[in-house]
Amino acid sequence: MPETLSPARRALRHPLLWPVLALAVLLVVNVIATPTFLNIRIQDGHLYGNLVDIVRNSAPVLLIALGMTLVIATRGIDLSVGAIAAIAAAVACTRIVAAGDEAALSTAVMAVTYAVVVCVLLGAWNGFLVSVAGIQPIIATLILMVAGRGISMAITDGQITTVNNPYFSDLASGYVLTLPVAFILALAVFALTALLTRRTALGMLIEAVGINPEASRLAGVRARTIIWTVYAFSGFCAGVAGLVIAANTNSVNANSLGLWIELDAILAVVIGGTSLAGGRFSLTGTLVGALFIATLARTIPNIGIPSEANYLFKAVVVIAVCLLQSPRARALLRVRRRGPVVPVLAKGTAA
């Protein structure tokens, strides 16, 4: 089938078409509202501008969404990422404060390592509940979602811990090669994940587990190990994201750090075209989805709507994307497609 399609039609069928188009529409809206929106200037050897802010702000969501993509591909979900991010930040900040030389590079490295290891363990715990105890993913990760913020507060003793370490705050506000460190970090994790899943058989095995865990087990795939690994990876991503968020404010507030970020991450994954039913995933789609969410957050104040209304737009996007993925809604659409106004209708439902 695909080889009979002309390049234009193939482009129309490409799964990334709608997410990229939606992102482009948002950018156009911004440019109409503020003509200088896309301007980027160089100052002190760094790039400055709205686009740079967007890619920097997208880093935490992108990181978490990468882990979430793999979890969702195995037909799971990880609700605990926000809580894990809060724990990571709490661990790192209390370590830095407790260290002898608060501003030293070694302190930052030690604290970050400590936090990431804790998060991988927490992710592995989720994986244990899902794969060994056989609990539904949504419930298994709900447990840590409920308890996690309590644990994070227990670590910081309920206080807002402020740290003073230039290397740690570079995680969020530093620049390498004129680009924000946070975004480069997220891109590195993205590239690593893409390499591991698409250049080895791992991606296919993950998809096999998502399509039918039992069948893949019978076919010789170590479904348990794979499920365990993706949850641990999700914990790792959540931990790094938590560190970036904490570094951005140089402090940790266990109550609010990463609140609802699990929902943003799931949204990014869904926008990117990964099916919540598992079995297929698109990391590039997730990248576009995360950029879309960060751009949306920037667009709303830019066009003069209070930024709190952000949630409203996210709700509309969730519903629109889910309806587009729903077979029933597609069937309804297909009936109408027989009419002469094909592309207009298809576009109208996506926007």
Binding site: G150, A154, L263, V316, R328
Partner: protein, 333 residues
């Protein structure tokens, strides 16, 4: 009971030989946990074993009880409703804003309840007719309700309406002890919920869908009506819970009740309802809420533990109940 051969059992024999059906074990476990916690509190802290502590528990958790009843219906069908916390916030905000605009309090209450029902209806329709997972559809509901709340007002609005404040502080006295009206409304909701689930066709269908949706469909049960219905009930309960919350707190704020959906889900699970659906009781959810509330009271009585321990203990209880459920249902297969 099957061993009873004597036809004319005395009452004492029947009481002595009574063994509860295994269906009630989870609820009884929660009851035992509740009584155990209360006993521990009574022994350790002076003034804890006062009946007023129990009544205050009902007053303080009235809105959560109502939320948990609605959530029980949804979870029994195998679904989940993440939007309830946001709908509570939206309800307090609508009530506060409409009262500020000079609406009659009854009209304002009607507006709040209608909004809740509409929210539930919207999510139910999305879930049933477009096969969107309950989790993601109610997630959209969460965002939508929170966004609307922010849109109405970012600032907190206090409620000064005379009818509202009168209702909020109206009490029923039993000798030395008192109960507020909000708690009585919550108990009524529990009673109605228990009746609907146990004694009506709708309730039977809820259990049937939770057991197996396709079987329920093949049996000719009204699956579509019931499945949309449980989300409408949950939406209504969330709005009613929001009203009770606004009576309790007398203000509308867009940051009210953040994360309350987690408390409601936790209460339902601790109350012995199976998260995969098909098994559970509203009374269990009431006990679940009371257990969570009692833990909070215990921690405040203790004074040395910080409030965040509530969350950690809730998580631990959740884990224990989920694991027990998991192994209990696995053995039966």
């Amino acid at each position: 009971m099957s061993t009873a051969t004597v036809p004319a059992d005395s009452l004492w024999d029947r009481v002595r030989g009574y063994t509860p059906s295994s269906r009630y074990y989870p609820v009884l476990a929660t009851l035992a946990l509740f009584l155990g916690l209360f006993a521990v509190g009574g022994v350790r802290y002076e003034g804890f074993a006062d009946p007023q502590v129990l009544l205050s528990l009902l007053i303080d958790n009235a809105f959560l009880i109502v939320l948990a009843v609605g959530m029980t219906f949804v979870i029994l069908t195998g679904g989940i409703d993440l939007s309830v916390g946001s709908v509570v916030a939206l309800s307090t905000m609508i009530a506060a804003r409409t009262l500020e605009m000079g609406w009659s309090p009854y009209l304002s209450i009607a507006a709040v309840l209608t909004t809740g029902i509409l929210f539930g209806l919207l999510m139910g329709l999305l879930i049933h007719y477009f096969d969107i997972q309950p989790f993601i559809a109610t997630l959209a509901g969460l965002f939508l309700a929170r966004g609307l709340t922010f849109l109405i007002s970012v600032e907190s609005i206090s409620i000064k309406d005379a009818t509202f404040t009168e209702f909020a502080f109206k009490t029923v006295r039993f000798g030395d002890y008192y109960l507020r009206w909000t708690a009585i409304v919550a108990l009524l909701v529990v009673a109605v919920g228990a009746y609907v689930l146990a004694r009506t066709r709708f309730g039977r269908t809820v259990y049937a869908i939770g057991g197996s949706e396709s079987s329920a469909m093949l049996m000719g049960l009204r699956v579509a009506f019931t499945k949309v219905g449980v989300y409408v009930i949950s939406g209504f309960c969330a709005a009613l819970g929001g009203l009770l919350f606004s009576f309790y707190i007398l203000s509308g704020n867009s940051l009210h009740a953040v994360g309350t959906e987690l408390d409601a889900i936790a209460a339902v699970v601790i109350g012995g309802t199976l998260l995969t659906g098909g098994r559970g009781y509203v009374v269990g959810s009431l006990l679940g809420v009371l257990v969570l509330g009692l833990i909070r009271v215990l921690i405040s009585f203790d004074g040395t533990l910080s409030s965040y321990w509530v969350r950690i203990i809730t998580g631990a209880l959740l884990l224990a109940f989920v694991l027990v459920q998991r192994f209990a249902t696995r053995r039966q297969r």
